[in-house]
């Protein structure tokens, strides 16, 4: 390749200049890494302007909802569980302590003290005897006797809003719900709490901290540790393996440098361009390293085999580069295209990930082309003297073993091509069945390994409580606006119903006259204001006989004006009650809470706590009076977590014991089905909010986005292959190993029941990028060799020498090199480690088996066609 040969002259002639420039380039970009800003918020998987996110944020504000950290106190040893003076004392102290906590580095991040849900910060509605109802703190102070402790239990258990949330039904656990102003405070807060917990007396109490914000924030912190440990370990492993293969310490440092240059400058660029370090982008080094090293290994491998023939490093380099320039350019371009296609997904962190891995790949390519030759030129000639020859003899055993097996493999492929192809087809059919079994699912808590304290806490607390995963079903009044004429008709009917005797008839007649006059107003709002004002005038002028009649009519106008306060209507509240009952029946919902529950509980307490009165009363007035009774408490605004003050929107708080996206999806589907099957008594709009729901939304976008991205990059790579080989047939051939690899990888995922989650989705791009590399190298070399030998039999023999060894070395280096990821406490990294190894192994094998087998079968046609 002319371009390659010309390009390689620069590092050959000016190796030091090239190296210096490279160092400056890397350091300059690397310096930007210090500006890093970490963002582990899965919410950012969605653009800030995404509808569902805007709605989620608006809902949190409107209903004064916060991200919540759940501190669970569990006692399984005391006969009354947590309801004993000592444990409740701990609960009291922890609540007091927690209410003052803030982030030392950022006082804006703090616990929202007034919204804490804890026994000492909620009101119990208490029967105080003689027709009295009292609002008392459920636990104003820590109890001193067992009787007091049990009274707290009984009061809490009798409140549907507390049972299963604040106190577990088995009495063994209490939940302290700590709302925080920012999710970024969650990890610090949990550490502060743990410090306090360590000072408490031990009486069998166990403490657990969970909630999505903790999981997400903790993930971010551990992600850093992970990157600092796993990535260097992976690098070390790759280094040791290369040392084993090539025996030349000085030489194999160069691919490591290429990888460092690529990783550092890419991360510098990412951060320097203002991107945050997100869960996705934190994986860039891990994805980039194998790809960056691959090209170098091809050059090293080739140089290793060629050097001994000439003993002249310059000639060897020129030869190697001219051999490899085109395949390396194309492998880099295809890999980059695979990742760049992620820019088409609607998920910002995935876009950034794709684009910057693509940039990193091209940086790695240019670095490989110009730096590796420069590096070799800078090595003292003496240190190369024994390279290859000595290396070859030294590693004869291993090299011989690999070489022998590869030769055997080559003969097998040549002799049994049809067996290979039919097996491939069979396996692919099986893989497609596996793919059909794939479960799309994710759950940030499951990003931690099973024995991680967050997973343990999640499990324990969701066993005792009705669920620490929250979603909010927001219902909104969608009443049609009435015209002044329609309002006039309805009000006239209401007025006429009041005309029961002489006096009232006289007043109603006057009111109807005012009504007719004001109905001329252009808007219903101005009509009602004017009507009410005029009627109050008449009321104030009237004598005692008529005053109350006017007052009643004015009240009716006010009621009519507030007709859109639908969440005081008994029929609407009963609809919500039934919807809640239905949600409990589907089995995955732990508990729901709504304004209906508040009304029923208050109604019951107003009637001497008689369970028969645990119902929604029959009139708007009765509902409103239950609610105003509730608001005579210490915390009247608690009502507005469940309904807006204008009573036009209501929030059904849904608790789930399992945060899997598929669980949330089930709930969403059921609600939709219910709302269609049982239409509400008034027109209602409904929408979902809550972190658990947001996760579902971005997952949906991810799945469809990844599919589109993958299909488009598949087409782009195919076009590039056709261009590279100047033949659609050969282009198609190059696509086969990667297609098979992807089918098999995802088939395996389906069979073993691994959820299709974020890291798994991103792997399709990696597969595309790596698997096509092997095919390009293999086909390019095969065609070159075929052109020289003119015999496929000779070519295939040659192919299972150096080219097959390069592929095998690559497979082994990368597959084994990433095993340190398996030690990670974070599941996404483990997943990447396992599948990276599998992808390398499968795509390497697929390339070396399927391609030669196909060419063997089609050789006459393939090569004749080319010549003609």
């Amino acid at each position: 390749m002319k371009l390659g040969s010309r390009l390689v002259q620069i590092p050959i002639l000016r190796p030091k200049l090239v190296t210096a420039l490279l160092v400056i380039f890397t350091l300059a970009l690397g310096a930007l890494i210090s500006k890093v800003h970490v963002d582990t918020d899965p919410e950012n998987m969605l653009s800030e302007h995404e509808d569902v996110r805007l709605f989620h944020t608006a809902t949190k504000k409107e209903f004064a909802l916060h991200d919540v950290l759940v501190l669970g106190v569990v006692n399984e040893t005391h006969p009354d569980g947590v309801f004993n003076p000592e444990t409740l004392g701990h609960v009291f102290d922890l609540t007091e302590y927690a209410s003052t906590l803030a982030d030392p580095n950022n006082p804006e991040y703090k616990v929202v003290a007034q919204n804490i849900i804890a026994p000492s910060n909620v009101d119990a509605i208490i029967q105080a005897g003689l027709g009295q109802v009292s609002f008392d703190w459920l636990m104003a102070a820590a109890p001193t006797t067992q009787e007091e402790a049990l009274r707290i239990r009984d009061l809490a258990m009798d409140n549907p809003l507390f049972k299963g949330t604040l106190v577990s039904e088995d009495g063994k656990a209490i939940g302290i719900y700590l709302p925080i102003t920012s999710k970024k405070f969650a990890h610090t807060l949990s550490q502060q709490l743990n410090d306090k917990i360590a000072t408490l007396s031990s009486n069998g109490d166990k403490f657990f901290i969970t909630g999505l914000p903790v999981a997400e924030d903790t993930f971010g912190k551990e992600m850093f540790i992970q990157m600092a440990v796993s990535a260097p370990l992976a690098m070390l492993a790759i280094f040791l393996l290369m040392l084993y293969f090539f025996k030349q310490l000085r030489l194999i440092i160069s691919p490591m440098i290429v990888a460092m240059v690529a990783v550092i400058s890419t991360m510098g660029l990412l951060i320097g361009t203002g991107h945050t370090l997100h869960i996705m982008s934190s994986m860039i080094p891990i994805f980039l390293m194998p790809i960056a090293v691959v090209d170098s290994i091809h050059i090293m491998s080739e140089f290793f085999d060629e050097y001994q023939k000439t003993g002249d490093r310059r000639k060897t380099i020129e030869h190697v580069i001219s051999q490899l320039f085109t395949p390396m350019l194309y492998t880099s371009l295809t890999s980059a295209a695979g990742f760049a296609s992620l820019a088409m997904t609607p998920i910002p962190p995935v876009q950034a990930f794709g684009i910057f891995v693509a940039i990193g790949i091209m940086i790695a390519w240019i670095t490989t082309i110009i730096f590796i030759p420069a590096y070799i030129m800078m090595m003292p000639e003496s240190s190369l003297q024994n390279f290859g020859v000595k290396g070859a003899s030294d590693s004869m055993a291993s090299r011989g073993a690999m070489a022998c097996s590869l030769r055997t493999l080559g003969r097998f492929v040549h002799n049994w091509p049809k067996l290979i192809i039919s097996t491939t087809m069979l396996l692919t059919l099986v893989a497609f069945y596996g793919i059909s079994q794939i479960q799309v699912n994710d759950n940030p808590v499951k990003w931690f390994t099973k024995n991680h304290e967050i997973r343990v806490a999640d499990q324990v607390l969701n066993k005792h409580f009705r669920g620490t995963y929250e979603a909010f079903l927001i219902l909104e009044s969608n009443l049609e606006k009435l015209s002044p004429a329609q309002a006039e008709t309805e009000l006239a009917t209401m007025f006429k119903n009041q005309a029961v005797d002489e006096n009232s008839k006289a007043v109603v007649a006057k009111a109807l006259a005012i009504l007719t006059r004001t109905a001329q107003e252009s808007t219903t709002d101005s009509m009602l204001s004017l009507l009410e004002a005029n009627m109050i005038d008449s009321q104030n002028k009237s004598n005692d006989l008529f005053y109350d009649i006017w007052a009643d009519l004015v009240a009716q106008v006010d009621t009519f004006r507030n007709r859109d306060q639908i969440f005081k209507r008994p029929d609407v509240l009963r609809y919500i009650e039934n919807l809640q009952a239905h949600l409990l029946e589907i089995g995955v919902v732990g508990k729901t809470s709504s304004i209906s529950d508040v009304v029923k509980k208050v109604h019951k307490e107003l009637f001497e706590s008689n369970p028969e009165h645990y119902i929604i009363p029959d009139s708007v007035g009765a509902v409103a009076q239950c609610l105003i009774s509730f608001q005579n408490s210490h915390k009247p605004d608690d009502l507005y977590h469940l309904v807006t003050p204008d009573y036009q929107k209501a929030n059904i708080w849904v608790q789930l014991q399992n945060g899997d996206n598929k669980v949330m999806e089930t709930v969403v589907k059921e609600v939709k089905k219910y709302m269609i099957g049982y239409p509400p008594p008034v027109q209602l709009n409904y929408k979902w909010a809550g972190l658990t729901y947001l996760n579902v939304v971005w997952q949906d976008k991810m799945v469809s986005g990844m599919r589109d991205a993958f299909l488009s990059s598949f087409i782009i790579v195919f076009i590039m292959m056709v261009l590279l080989f100047r033949s659609p047939t050969w282009g198609l051939l190059a696509m086969i190993p990667l297609t098979m690899t992807i089918a098999w990888i995802y088939g395996i995922i389906g069979f073993i029941g691994k959820d299709y989650d974020m890291p798994v989705a991103v792997l399709s791009s990696l597969t595309l990028g790596l698997a096509v590399d092997f095919a390009i190298h293999f086909l390019e070399r095969a065609r070159a060799t075929q052109a020289k030998t003119g015999s496929w039999t000779k070519t295939i023999t040659a192919m299972f020498e150096e080219p097959a060894r390069a592929i095998s070395r690559n497979v082994i280096v990368i597959a084994i090199g990433f095993t340190p990821l398996l030690l990670a406490p974070l599941v996404p990294y483990k997943t990447v480690g396992v599948f990276l190894a599998s992808i390398m192994a499968i795509s390497g094998l697929a390339t070396m088996l399927i391609l030669p087998a196909l060419i063997t079968i089609l050789q006459g046609w393939l090569f004749r066609k080319k010549h003609s």
């Binding site: 105080a128 027709g131 109802v133 102070a141 005692d544 009240a555 009363p617 009774s629 210490h634 915390k635």
Partner: protein, 263 residues
């Protein structure tokens, strides 16, 4: 003596020392402030419009009439009757207080749509009055004997008095400080502090008029700094010395409120 004043009154107690040479004794300042705030005339009536605003700026209205009758001399026992007019769905809800100086007050509420009279427990003194930022105790006054009082500052305009509860477990504050206007003897401002000495609640008088010769608060504001919400109460149609019968303040009028309350 004014009715509405009840709304912001704050305590003041009898026994306290530390009178300065020029100033009247502390207990006198406190008693006078209490009398001006809660005991104008022998009885009184006012229309009250409460506007409750939350930290998002959303507002709610409460409109009610309040009647008051003193049955002892100033500083003694009193009767209160509250009749709700708006929101219309709580219309005709009534609220009755028999205030005693030497024991807990008796309080009742009538919910018309449920046709239910409920007594309100004595312990609920410092819970929300109908969802507003006013407490029940702000309506009918806090017993002067419930707190210790000390003068912490005095300037040309105000006596500044700090009040600390005798029974800290019964209240949510650790102390509160009142600014009493030297001219009209009204507590114009109060600040409530919690255990960490943070001010979490304030009362401010925003309007004062002289009606029938009595100094009368016509507008006041209570703010909850914790939630960011506040409530403004405005008083209109204020009248004193109506010769209200003590009979009107009996339990049976809860269901059939007197004309004086309805109109």
């Amino acid at each position: 003596m004014l009715i509405p004043r009840l709304f912001f009154i704050l305590t003041l107690a009898a026994l306290v020392a530390s009178p300065t040479l020029a100033a009247p004794p502390l207990d006198e300042i406190i008693r006078k402030a209490n009398n001006v705030s809660y005991y104008g005339g022998d009885d009184g009536r006012a229309e009250v419009a409460m506007t409750i605003t939350d930290n998002q700026g959303r507002t709610r209205e409460r409109l009610f009439t309040i009647l008051r009758k003193d049955i002892q001399k100033d500083g003694g026992n009193q009767l209160y009757f509250v009749y709700f007019k708006r929101p219309s769905d709580v219309r005709k809800t009534t609220f009755l207080v028999h205030k005693f100086i030497d024991r807990d007050d008796d309080r009742w509420m009538y919910l018309p749509s449920l046709d239910l009279v409920k007594r309100i427990a004595a312990s609920d003194k410092r819970t929300s009055f109908m969802g507003s930022n006013f407490f029940y105790e702000d309506v009918s006054g806090r017993n002067l004997d419930a707190d210790h009082h000390e003068m912490i500052d005095e300037n040309d305009t105000y006596y500044v008095i700090r009040n600390t509860p005798k029974d800290p477990a019964s209240v949510e504050f650790a102390s509160y400080t009142v600014w009493i206007d030297k001219k009209n003897s009204l507590p114009m401002k109060a600040e409530y502090k919690d255990k960490t000495a943070t001010i979490y609640r304030t009362m401010e008088v925003l309007g004062v008029e002289t009606i029938q010769g009595y100094t009368t608060v016509t507008k006041s504001l209570i703010s909850d700094l914790g939630t960011g919400g506040n409530t403004i109460a405005e008083f209109t149609n204020i009248k004193y010395n109506l010769s209200l019968s003590a009979d009107l303040f009996s339990e049976r009028y809860l269901r059939t409120p007197p004309k004086e309350a309805r109109q």
